[in-house]
Amino acid sequence: MMNAAMKTALSGCLLALAACAQPAPPVAPPVADPYASVGGGAVFQGDLTGGTLGSQATAEYFQSGVGNTVLFPADQTTLTPDARNVLARQAEWLTQHGNFSAIVQGHAEETGTREYNLALGARRASAVQEYLVAQGVAPDRIRTLSFGKERPAETCSEETCYAKNRRAVTIVNSSGAGA
């Protein structure tokens, strides 16, 4: 769950979306993932060299400026109000940047069997996809998959980490990998 400071920051962002300085994302970018270069894996494919400094049309901005991660309560797959706020911003960004497509990765905490967590993560990814589509993003721009408990954001075996691992992460790119 988000803390009070984050909630305050997010509600302010809703009033002035573009100008708002977003809190640091709760999840570190998955650049250490050894499978980052494979297909729909968590790969950063934005162009950091060609764009104008501060451009919002980058995957990096989507991750840190818009917020690419939503969190779920234990064993839940329904979107919280906080999650809906993040996804509303994601949908707006995706609407403004029609050349980007998205892959939504669903994740689960480590307690639970491997197979059930894969299915649980798929439900979470699908919940995000449905919300984005309901906000007007074309369905064929969004694909989903689940990593179950294979790719935790945090590695401790306590609720503080589990809360950050029950998540869906939206990865955007402009290379057509999500189409």
């Binding site: 250490a32 729909g40 797959t77 990814a125 699908s126």
Partner: protein, 441 residues
Amino acid sequence: MFRKLILAPALLMALSVSTGVFGTAAHAQDTPLRIEITDGIIEPMTIAIPQFHGTPDLAAKVRSVVADDLTGTGLFREVPSDSVAKAASFSEAVSYDDWRTIDTQALVSAEVTQNGDNISVRFRLFDIISGQPQGDGMQFDARAADWRRAAHKIADQVYVRLTGEKPYFDSRVAFVQETGPKNARIKRIGVMDYDGANILWMTDSSSLVLAPKFSADGRRLLFTSYDSGFPQIQVMDVATVTSRALTVDQGSMAFAPSFSPDGRSVVYSHEKGGNTDIWLMDAGSGAQRSLTTAPSIETSPSFSPDGRRIVFESDRSGTPQLYIMPVEGGEPTRISFGDGRYGSPVWSPKGDMIAFTKQIGDKFHIGVMRTDGSSEKMLTESFLDEGPTWAPNGRVVMFTRVTPGGNGQPRLHSVDITGRNMRPMKLDFAASDPSWGPLMP
């Protein structure tokens, strides 16, 4: 007189088995030496496995594997045989009185000889209490490279004769090796002898792979791969280590595959639009159809050994529970009713039991129950135990035990279905998702 035992020779491994006409004749026994495996067993049977005759180094290695197999069951305790004078040859008569003085109940005598690339192993088992051979002498011929298999065959014969159970030592286990940090694990599939020896790597580390499952004949492996970027099912030919995709639909996920006993069908989880159901695929034609169509999660399907029913996990009741349905699909019957969450059910080789993962509170257990849900029994308890797989004789279950924390690691463990003899596998790396293959021919 000698009773001829004809066992099918192995085609691929060139390991042949024949009854040796040697030594003294075996006597028919009315009451064979027998250890009964029950919940109440406390005292292991004492067994002497003195130095094997024949080619010295090889004989010592074979003897060590035989002893490890037998004592590893927890059913046998090896008696040091130093105090008994070594027999001059394999064919020398047994000094029953000498063995009785050191409280030996059973004696394994063997001879291992190497001729170039081939070895020949002869063994006999003696009931020291009644003072006679137990069963016929046997001879195994094998390639020298297969000396461990020959040792497992001897140990299996001893195990069968002393327990009345079916053998399982000469078998292999597929698994996933895990390296790297917890948030970026590198995984590859391996196959090893049941005791951790002779490891073969079946995939490189380029793709995330999960949960290999042997076919009933041990010649193929099913597994889930992220090779395409999305979880899909692949099938591998074990002998040639070549694999191909069974599912390729990138609009959905396919995972948790398992073979039917005849190897012609694959049952698996198919996800579409966030909903996961059980599907069945013809392994030859690739034709697929759904067996469940519930909005709940249905996963971890496992066939009954007669191929007529499928046990799986579903959260249609609100929490994950175990259900059984006909292979044609249709209304499933719930079989788990205890507190907690049930998952990863696997049908026993005998067909009478289901092993499963159970989560209660902050503990995980490996448990077994009868197929009607009765006689539920927990075999283990830890922070995280999951994914049981049955030994080919249905007496032992192997599973994954994960330790907690940022440096937590998965390790393979095995436990007798009585709940006794919990043991970590002797592996010097982290591993998960074991799948126990069939007894080798």
